[in-house]
């Protein structure tokens, strides 16, 4: 890193103006909970530090990008809203509980006071915890940049490849939008980590199921940490559609999750274990919703 200039814009307009300036694009930071450890690791390697941006653009606490509000038929979440705020927010807890649960599972309370939903999505780690929840909630990402006006993209199209998003140079995520029609929807979020706090997910998953009684009208099931990007388990969703849900149907359809995941061996877990758990967690979430629907 060769950062030598720090800019804290007063508002989104100023941030975009900085992004519009000619020359190398600035490094954007919000909570810093991914950025700071990354720079630390780079400094600690044997090789000399890389060439990089010289301007650090700080979006943390930028009012235009903070907060949760109902805006017509979407819940609009500022990209710089922290996990702590999202997890505790009454509207999120009532209308998109899978997101509240996911945000509340990130890191620790200390991390959650800084980490932002925008940062979580832009870092695009395969194990980002809010990603499966937002995918299951059918979220959209709004971006703005120097060159063009704001644009929106379904979250599923935002994750392009391993740690690679659809953001163009000079673009930032400004908001995450969750459609409000039909909410609240029965949903579950489950994170499997090696301990109960400050744990990177070994498997994380979320689902939302629109029900007619106990018949599945539509299902959205998403997983993290089991593929290069967070994924929707489309085959499972298709298999559930129109079915009367119970534990056996849940187990049967969950088996199809393997069509969408390619879990790797790493020092936290083997791909085989991740595969077992992915299937088990999906089956369990769906069965749980089914049980609740019958009660």
């Amino acid at each position: 890193m060769t950062l030598d200039t720090y800019i804290r814009p007063a508002d989104l307009e100023e941030a975009l103006a900085v992004l519009a300036q000619p020359g190398p694009k600035p490094q954007v930071v919000a909570g810093g909970t991914d950025f700071v450890p990354m720079t630390r690791k780079m400094r600690m390697t044997d090789t000399p530090p890389l060439e990089g941006p010289s301007v650090l653009l700080d979006l943390s606490k930028l009012e235009d990008l903070c907060g949760v509000r109902e805006a017509g038929d979407v819940l609009e979440i500022g990209a710089a809203t922290t996990m702590g705020v999202i997890a505790a927010h009454p509207a999120v807890r009532e209308l998109v509980p899978v997101l509240a649960a996911a945000a509340g599972s990130v890191g620790s309370p200390l991390v959650r006071n800084r980490a932002t939903v925008g940062g979580n999505l832009v870092t695009a780690s395969p194990s980002a915890d809010t990603a499966p929840a937002l995918l299951a909630a059918d979220a959209t990402v709004r971006m703005a940049g120097a060159e063009a006006g704001p644009r929106e993209l379904p979250l599923a199209e935002f994750f392009v490849d391993y740690r690679t998003t659809a953001l163009r140079a000079g673009e930032i995520v400004t908001h995450v939008l969750v459609p409000l029609v039909g909410r609240p929807v029965p949903g579950r979020f489950e994170k499997v980590g090696l301990r109960n706090a400050d744990a990177i997910s070994v498997v994380c998953a979320a689902c939302e199921i629109e029900l007619d009684g106990s018949i599945c009208r539509a299902a959205r099931i998403a997983l993290g940490a089991v593929a290069p990007v967070p994924v929707r388990a489309l085959a499972v969703e298709a298999a559930l559609r129109g079915r009367e849900l119970d534990e056996d149907v849940a187990a049967e359809c969950a088996r199809l999750v393997h069509e969408h995941i390619s879990p790797i061996d790493d020092l936290r877990a083997s791909g085989r274990y991740r595969g077992w758990v992915a299937e088990a967690v999906v089956a369990r979430m769906v069965a749980d919703i089914a049980r609740e629907a019958r009660a």
């Binding site: 600690m44 044997d46 301990r195 109960n196 706090a197 020092l267 936290r268 077992w276 758990v277 967690v281």
Partner: protein
């Protein structure tokens, strides 16, 4: 045996807040990295990138010329790069208990992270850049990374000897083969335990400087200030011109028992004539400091149908890593305690420790006892199951008592209350928790352990303390105690306060300074309360005797009528006759009567015999206790939730009730980390889990409350009949949890940690096959 009467102590046994707790909470305590000295340079250690390699050349010229650099040192710059260290002890015991301490790698490197060069510069960034600029040419060697392989002929030789064997021990009692022939049930299994990191919250840190009298002074976070002798040796300085000071430590657990930063700081401060500071990053700490020994343990245990243990065999191989350090000591502890707290008439133990090119292993809380405890307590449950006895019942039929012999033939002298600790622990689990979902299974387990307190008797251990009154009636204690967080300094304040009849707040302890405080020995081996506590007790009693004698004269009563309490001399049966202690102090001072005393306490000692067989008394004494646990296992993910934890120990006499409970609670969680989470993974000597996001320790959200049950037999060898508990509390926690997991899933796993993946894999494998083929169990008619 339990003491019938509860002594009426003034402060001993009370839940007294520690004086150091205040400073720590209010943020005024200074740890090693908190001191500021003008002109301080910053040090950086260049470490080997290879686990096994020859060093072909080291060129420091480019580094030395860089901006801000004051010194770049290699092995050639160390006055005496190699010494035979006594590891802080004063007696040369022989037999491998002294060992090689090499400051900087010279012709070869033996583990990844071994120090090769040192840099001191004006800023940390300059020091780092200069370290990178040191040009080292390595000739990588194949290395060996498995201690069993390392023991085979033809293995890569890690050190300079023609074998990788560090040490080997044998224990023989009775006739194991004959014993097994009489057994009705035998269980034979292999157990494996991994490398562990201490993860003290405070990374290694220190500053060194030459003081105004030319004395080389090192202030460092260390458990052993008496390494000053080794530092003097390597610097070619007289012992009395090297001073080591230990401020309050942010944790030690054995990882700061060996020399860490002290030698590097000494060299750089001496060369630059400036103060030099070195603080490890967490990554560097995990990479470079000692680890807990991994063991492979093959255990074979036999019992008769009436539930009596009849024979035990253990073959143990430990991984010493790149250098021996305390490996011989640790392995000796293991073989002495390999039978556990049980009567076993026929015992055969064979153990060896081998060098490998993994990170060197040395002291870690428990010092060889936790490893074997995991093995023997797993065996006990497996045997209990085959015999149709409950885990508690089976153990109760076999526990050692006072007067019974260990496998080494040593008969236990002090109180042994293991059965009561076990009954209380099991009882404290209460009603079984019901599964909270269909995916959950619940299990319970107990594990009993034994752990020594006090050093090996071969080391001729001793400790000293100075206790004295000031002229205003306040009390000073001076002792070279290293306070690693267990209240080591506070305990001797409490003992002095008790004996001299003053409030604890009237006592100030000066500790941890080789120049100014009488040497107390190491803060290791659960020895501080026993050793410095006894030394302090002796010194305080001597002072008390003088005060009481003078008071008796002044009040004209017999000495045995006199007590000291609340800063007053009081007379039994005569409320009117009283005198402030300070008046007596001043009278003594005026009349040439000493109001202070320097005392020494010597532990039992023995000389080492030339033999591979370990026989007789090895430690001063042992502490016995039992852990109990209840767990829930999620059968779909293998994740374990610990629901209940109990730690039940005979502590002899709790000196500070809160501290004693705190040791039991903290030690328990240490054991749970060992059981479930902690694993320093190494790949051909390269530490893979190099930071705290990959080497995982328990958070508050992973633990339930620990219920601490303290029995007080007053039958220990420490002051007031205390026993040491710092390490015993951490020895049996892991097998209590793993036995509970085994109980929950109905499968006996044998490798720590019991990760969710290992548990789920075992469950899946059982689904696939009819019965586990994991242990060979023979039942004879």
């Amino acid at each position: 045996m339990m003491s019938d009467e509860t002594p009426d102590y003034k402060v001993i046994g009370r839940a007294v807040p520690r004086h150091d707790a205040r400073d720590k909470v209010f943020g005024t305590t200074r740890y090693a990295d908190d001191f500021v000295m003008p002109g301080t340079l910053h040090a950086k250690v260049l470490r080997s990138r290879y686990a096994a390699a020859k060093i072909v050349s080291v060129d420091t010229s480019r580094a030395a010329a860089m901006p801000g650099v004051h010194a770049v040192l290699t092995a050639a710059d160390v006055p005496k790069n190699e010494t035979t260290s006594k590891f802080g002890q004063t007696h040369s015991a022989g037999g491998g208990f002294e060992g090689l301490y090499r400051v900087l790698a010279d012709k070869k490197v033996r583990y990844m992270g071994e120090a090769v060069a040192l840099v001191a510069a004006e800023t940390p960034a300059q020091a780092e850049e200069a370290a990178r600029a040191v040009e080292v040419v390595y000739d990588p060697q194949p290395g060996v990374f498995d201690p069993v392989e390392a023991l085979k002929p033809g293995a890569y030789l890690v050190g300079e000897e023609d074998s990788n064997v560090v040490c080997a021990y044998k224990v023989r009692k009775g006739d194991a083969d004959a014993g097994f022939a009489h057994a009705d049930v035998i269980v034979e299994r292999e157990y494996r335990v991994p490398f562990g990191d201490h993860v003290y919250l405070e990374p290694e840190s220190g500053t060194a400087w030459i003081d105004e009298d030319g004395v080389l002074t090192i202030r460092a976070s260390t458990q052993v200030i008496e390494h000053f002798r080794d530092i003097a040796d390597i610097m070619d300085l007289p012992h009395n011109r090297v001073r080591v000071i230990a401020p309050m430590l942010g944790g030690g657990f054995g990882g700061k028992e060996d020399i860490t930063v002290e030698a590097y700081l000494a060299l750089l401060a001496y060369r630059t004539k400036r103060p030099v500071r070195l603080t490890y990053t967490r990554e560097e700490s995990i990479l470079a400091h000692s680890k807990r020994h991994p063991y492979v343990m093959r255990y074979k245990t036999g019992a008769t149908r009436d539930g009596k243990l009849v024979a035990m065999e253990a073959d143990i191989v430990s991984d010493a890593g790149g250098y021996p350090f305390l490996s011989p000591w640790v392995l000796l502890y293991s073989v002495v305690m390999a039978t556990g707290p049980y009567i076993i008439p026929n015992v055969r133990v064979d153990a060896a420790s081998a060098l490998t090119n993994n990170t060197f292993t040395s002291a870690y809380r428990g010092f060889g006892a936790p490893q074997v405890c995991f093995a023997y307590e797993s065996q006990m449950d497996a045997l209990a199951e085959k015999l149709g006895l409950s885990p508690l019942e089976f153990r109760e039929r076999n526990y050692l008592h006072t007067g019974d012999e260990l496998g080494t033939g040593y008969a236990l002298e002090s109180a042994v209350l293991t059965d009561e600790t076990a009954r209380r622990a099991w009882e404290a689990l209460g009603e079984p928790t019901q599964p909270r979902s269909p995916d959950e299974v619940i299990g319970r387990g107990i594990a009993s352990g034994m752990q020594s307190y006090g050093r090996l008797v071969y080391l001729h251990d001793s400790s000293r303390a100075f206790v004295g009154f000031e002229l205003d009636g306040t009390v000073v204690v001076r002792s070279g105690v290293q306070d690693i967080g267990g209240g080591q300094a506070s305990s001797i304040a409490q003992i002095s306060a008790e004996v001299l009849g003053v409030p604890m707040d009237d006592v100030t302890v000066y500790f941890g300074d080789t120049a100014l405080t009488p040497l107390a020995g190491t803060t290791t081996a659960t020895r501080m309360l026993y050793m410095s506590g006894n030394a302090t007790l002796k010194a305080a009693r001597a002072v008390r005797e003088a005060i009481v004698a003078k008071a008796s004269e002044m009040l004209e009563v017999d000495s045995d009528q006199i007590d000291l309490a609340d800063r007053m001399v009081v007379v039994a049966g005569d409320v009117g006759k009283t005198l402030p202690i300070v008046d007596v102090v001043r009278a003594c001072a005026s009349q040439g009567i000493p109001i202070s005393n320097l005392a020494q306490f010597n532990a039992p000692s023995r000389d080492l015999e030339e033999s591979d067989y370990v026989v007789g008394q090895i430690h001063p004494d042992y502490t016995f206790g039992t852990h109990a646990a209840e767990v829930a296992v999620d059968t779909r993910t293998g994740k374990v939730t610990v629901l209940k934890l109990v730690a039940s120990f005979d502590v002899g006499q709790a000196i500070n009730k809160l501290s004693a409970q705190g040791q039991l609670e903290g030690g328990t969680v240490c054991g749970v980390g060992y059981a479930l989470l902690e694993d320093v993974k190494m790949d051909k000597g390269r530490t893979v889990t190099c930071a705290l996001d990959t080497y995982l320790v328990p958070t508050a959200a992973d633990m339930p409350d620990v219920e601490a049950i303290m029995l007080e037999s007053r039958g220990g060898k420490g002051p007031f009949g205390a026993k040491g508990i710092g390490e015993p509390s951490s020895t049996s926690g892991a097998p209590a949890v793993t036995n509970a997991i085994n109980d929950a899933i109905g499968i006996r796993l044998t490798e720590l940690p019991f990760t969710p993946e290992r548990i789920l894999t075992a469950l899946k494998e059982r689904e696939r096959s009819a019965a586990p083929a994991r242990d060979r169990v023979t039942e004879t008619a």
